[in-house]
């Protein structure tokens, strides 16, 4: 058997080769070659706003005392009344079709603006509506055919007249994904006063309901 002579040159070459082997292993590990399958991609979002005014709003109020009345559909103010046996509920929605948002889009923020024209010490709660309604046909007796959320999205105080805001981001986000925004039922959940808010038909533009909407798609 031929004898192996380890000269300084051979020793240096061996160390260099060993170091390269380690470097190769470290490089391979940093690339994550432990995965047998890999797929990566990114999706860029477009941001925008689509603010709503009375021109895209539909609103009404229904009266327990006049259960078949549709008069609220053309009223200039919407009454909200907590009196047992004679309650009034208001409804507001916006048609978002002009925003041309796909159902994969979403709301980044949505804030409803309401103007209290007749104040009272009531807390007004907004309950999301999930089914179709129209101001021209909705009545108190028709409420049983609506799907309305059991939990209020938000509340505001009607203790003073003037503009009030209500954040409704989650509801609008869900509505975009569902394809249609059916809006909210507004009713007094505390207090005993009869209050009123401006309707889309109000003669003063600042008293009509509106909504700011920031979206992504």
């Amino acid at each position: 058997m031929r004898r192996f002579h380890l000269t300084p040159l051979r020793l240096c070459a061996g160390i260099l080769l060993g170091s390269l082997a380690f470097a190769g292993v470290a490089y391979a590990a940093s690339l994550g070659l432990g995965s047998s399958k890999l797929y990566a991609w990114s999706q860029t979002l477009t941001k925008g706003t689509c603010n709503q005014t009375s021109t895209t709003a539909d609103d009404t109020y229904v009266q327990q005392a006049s259960p078949n009345s549709t008069a609220g559909g053309t009223a200039t103010t919407l009454t909200i009344k907590p009196t047992a046996g004679s309650q009034d509920y208001a409804f507001i929605r916006f048609n978002l079709s002009g925003c041309t948002l796909p159902t994969t889009a979403g709301a980044d923020s949505a804030v409803l603006s309401i103007f209290v024209t007749t104040a009272g010490a009531d807390t007004i709660s907004l309950f999301p509506v999930y089914s179709s309604w129209s101001s021209s046909t909705l009545t108190w007796n028709g409420l049983s055919g609506l799907t309305i959320g059991s939990t209020a999205t938000t509340t505001f105080s009607a203790a003073t007249t003037g503009a009030k805001t209500a954040t409704v981001t989650a509801d609008v986000d869900a509505a975009i994904k569902a394809g249609t925004l059916w809006g909210w039922e507004l009713r007094a959940t505390s207090g005993a006063a009869t209050v009123a808010i401006g309707a889309a038909e109000n003669g003063t533009a600042a008293r009509r309901p509106s909504m700011t909407l920031g979206y992504e798609k």
Partner: protein, 128 residues
């Protein structure tokens, strides 16, 4: 003495080489030699998938749903990173793609408190 140095040097050389080969083997590289190159990596899909997110009433992301994930991706890890306009991560989370028929909708939660208004891109990956 010179013979001892020769033996020790040979052992050192053998150790360095074998360590490299052993580590490479643990990475699943089948070649007996280690060199620059590439290993084939196959994905369960090659199509761009669409993601959508839900928010709470404060506008914070509660979940991201990835739509139409192929059935072939079942069992793989789906990771989602929420990025801002500088492509800085605002939060990330992952989940294992479950079994389903047809295209799966895979929901990922647990991003922490991330305002949707600041998210301008999703970075997604599937690894098996």
């Amino acid at each position: 003495m010179k013979r001892l140095i020769n033996i020790l040097s040979a052992v050192l050389l053998a150790t360095l080489l074998s360590a490299g080969v052993a580590a490479a083997a643990s990475l699943g590289l089948t070649s007996k030699t280690l060199a620059a190159g590439s290993a084939p990596v196959t994905g369960c899909t090659s199509s761009a998938l669409t993601a959508t997110r839900n928010v709470d009433n404060s506008g914070n992301v509660t979940q991201v749903s990835v739509l139409s994930v192929p059935q072939a991706c079942s069992g793989e890890m789906l990771a989602v990173t929420l990025e801002n306009s500088s492509h800085t991560s605002l939060g990330s989370a992952s989940t294992t793609v479950g079994a389903c028929t047809g295209g799966c909708i895979v929901s990922v939660t647990g991003f922490g408190t991330v305002s949707a208004a600041n998210v301008t891109a999703y970075a997604l990956s599937l690894t098996g």
